[in-house]
């Protein structure tokens, strides 16, 4: 709490961001009891609303749950879902599960890497796209599968990669 008050009295651009981030996190935490079993669910909500888990956020959550920071970091780094760095507006997830692998997932991944100019796990410099691979979406009948944000693309082929990325680039232009 004291951190946010200090930030408020200093009218500088960066602390202002920190202030709003702290407010958002306070709002999130307000709906929890403070029991340590809530940790994963708090991390999920925080990431959903703030995009990723910043170091300051993790420290505040540790204080809130009365846990050592190391425990909170330990949990945040254990689960694949949690991102400790900012991610792109659009997240492209390529399935590399057995079903998709057999049906050519590595070629699809290579095409996305080529088009975006980044490797698996990286984010483009303009923070538009993050490229990830996942173990299995469980829609193997549609293999190979790519999920962009919440849209599922089944029976993927390399020649659809550019077209799909373009639809998300257009969305940006519309805004």
């Amino acid at each position: 709490m004291s951190i946010s008050k200090t930030a408020q009295t200093k009218p500088q651009p960066l602390p202002k961001d920190e202030q709003s981030a702290a407010d958002t996190l306070d709002e999130i935490l307000a709906s929890y009891r403070g029991d340590k079993s809530e940790l994963i669910s708090i991390l999920q909500r925080t990431q959903l609303e703030m995009g990723y888990l910043a170091e300051e956020s993790l420290n505040r959550i540790a204080v809130f749950l009365d846990l050592p920071s190391s425990t909170v970091f330990g949990v945040a780094t254990f689960y694949a879902q949690f991102k400790l760095r900012p991610i792109g507006k659009n997240v492209v997830k390529i399935c590399r599960g057995t079903g998709c692998y057999v049906k050519g997932a590595p070629r699809i991944l290579a095409e996305f890497e080529k088009e975006l100019g980044i490797n698996d796990g990286e984010t483009t410099e303009d923070l538009e796209f993050t490229l990830e691979t996942v173990a299995c979406f469980g829609c193997c009948a549609l293999a190979p599968v790519v999920v962009v944000n919440e849209d599922v693309y089944g029976k993927m082929t390399t020649d659809r990669v550019k077209e799909i990325l373009d639809t998300y680039k257009e969305k940006k232009d519309d805004e």
Binding site: I40, Q81, T98, G99, V102, C136, F137, C139, A141, G154
Partner: protein, 446 residues
């Protein structure tokens, strides 16, 4: 037009329902648009006796989006929004089903109009998947109309927990998560463990690549699993149930939430369920993306908010599990099977399958196979019958090389083992495992 209707004996004049599949697979193929277009077209055609509704996954995602017409049993595959007008005008108004949208036999190219004649379904034995694709998963009334919640009613009004456990033991049901431990015995351990507070966990952290059985069931028939949880909770003496579902399955989680709210309205969870003395609550816990959390002790660590690391056993979860309390963990398919057993009886269930593996097995058939999708077969069916009979064989006239069963912890079975009956013992003897139900087929090029 009315003449046509009367002339066509296949078309019933009674109320018909157009079911549009809204499973993850069909949605990705545009089935939401198909649903909207159908509603509009049916309205425009003034067809008062026709309803448009949704279902969960049929299991035949490869031929999606799927539209089926009940009670006639027509089956339209790979439907596109532009086909909707023709379906409504030709089939519903004029009584002429649209042949080009039927499933076509892979070898003869013969059009197959009815659902139960499609080879993919014809050779299956659907107990656990009975409702999948035939009811609206977002309406508890549909589930009840299909006989749902009668089992729990019978259990609570006429049976003691020990009698329920005895019935499950007699049925021969074994854990469908993969290891095949006898379910009744597992329940007995937890029931006998000292302590007033006990937990029942439904393991829906389906992590094996190539497996989507649990997702499909939760999306298409969530109440079957929830009713199974009530029965299991009553049998072991638990007061709280938790579904641990992986976060990669947003639609399954959404449907579970809807189902739980409806159960609450109907007083099927909470205190004094169905006016009995049984109090039971169910909550959902979302996983956060860790394959290992499908393992019982890691799963419990994750629910407790910790890193999902497996813990050494003993103590076993049955005596000291979640929060140190006696805990019983069952797979989604196990709990759905429990429902069927309590509905139809142990001897009915044990009459299906082989000597040591009773009932049916649900598999996700994927990889280099003509008909990939979700299937359910009696235990003991041979790999060859599954891959060639139901799966339609390998595409492009290629040679079968191997099939992986049991996911990464299982093994690859070569062509020389195609004659193997699929059951716990035979797969283990061949060096693989039954696993939770993934079956990935590899061809000569893989």
């Amino acid at each position: 037009m009315s003449n046509n209707k009367e002339n066509n004996a296949n078309i019933e004049s009674a109320t018909r329902t157009l079911f549009v599949c809204q499973g993850t697979g069909c949605v990705s193929g545009g089935s939401k648009k198909i649903y909207e277009a159908l509603v509009k077209e049916v309205e425009a055609a003034n067809l008062d006796d026709v309803k448009v509704d949704i279902t969960g996954c049929h299991g035949f995602c490869q031929r999606g989006p799927i539209v089926n017409i009940e009670p006639d049993g027509y089956f339209y595959a790979e439907v596109q929004p532009e086909d909707v007008h023709e379906i409504v005008q030709s089939h519903l108004v004029n009584g002429q089903p649209v042949e080009r949208l039927f499933y076509h036999d892979l070898t003869t190219d013969e059009p197959i109009p009815l659902y139960h004649d499609v080879p993919f379904y014809e050779k299956q034995h659907r107990l656990v998947l009975r409702n999948c694709g035939h009811i609206n998963p977002e309406r508890i009334e549909d589930y009840m109309e299909a006989g749902g919640y009668q089992a729990i009613q019978r259990v609570l009004s006429r049976m003691t927990p020990d009698e329920v456990i005895a019935e499950i033991k007699e049925s021969g049901l074994r854990g469908r998560g993969g290891a095949g431990f006898p379910t009744g015995q597992k329940w007995q351990f937890c029931r006998s463990a000292p302590g007033k507070e006990k937990y029942l966990i439904c393991n829906a952290d389906e992590g094996d690549p190539g497996a989507f059985m649990d997702r499909s069931i939760l999306e298409a028939d969530p109440h079957s699993v929830l009713e199974g949880m009530l029965i299991a909770g009553y049998a072991i003496g638990a007061t709280h149930g938790i579904i641990y579902c992986r976060a990669e399955y947003p639609l399954a989680i959404a449907r579970l939430k809807i189902a739980l709210a409806q159960m609450k309205e109907h007083r099927l969870i909470g205190d004094k369920i169905l006016k009995s003395n049984f109090d039971f609550d169910i909550s959902i816990k979302e996983g956060a993306g860790a394959f290992v959390c499908g393992e019982e002790t890691a799963l419990m660590a994750s629910i407790e908010g910790e890193r999902g690391m497996p813990r050494p056993r003993p103590p076993f979860p049955a005596t000291s599990g979640l929060w140190g309390k006696p805990t019983n963990i069952n797979n989604v398919k196990t709990l759905a099977s429990v429902c069927r057993i309590m509905e139809k009886g142990a001897s009915w269930f044990s009459s299906i399958g082989t000597e040591k593996s009773k009932g049916t097995a649900v598999f996700a058939l994927t990889g280099k196979i003509e008909n990939s999708g979700l299937i359910e077969v009696p235990m003991g069916m041979t790999l060859s019958d599954i891959i060639y009979g139901i799966g339609g064989g390998i595409p492009g006239g290629k040679e079968f090389k191997a099939v992986q069963t049991g996911g990464p912890s299982g093994g690859c079975l070569p062509a020389s083992m195609l004659h193997l009956p699929v059951e716990y013992e035979s797969l283990a003897a061949a060096g693989s495992i039954m696993g939770s139900g993934g079956m990935v087929v590899l061809d000569e090029d893989t």
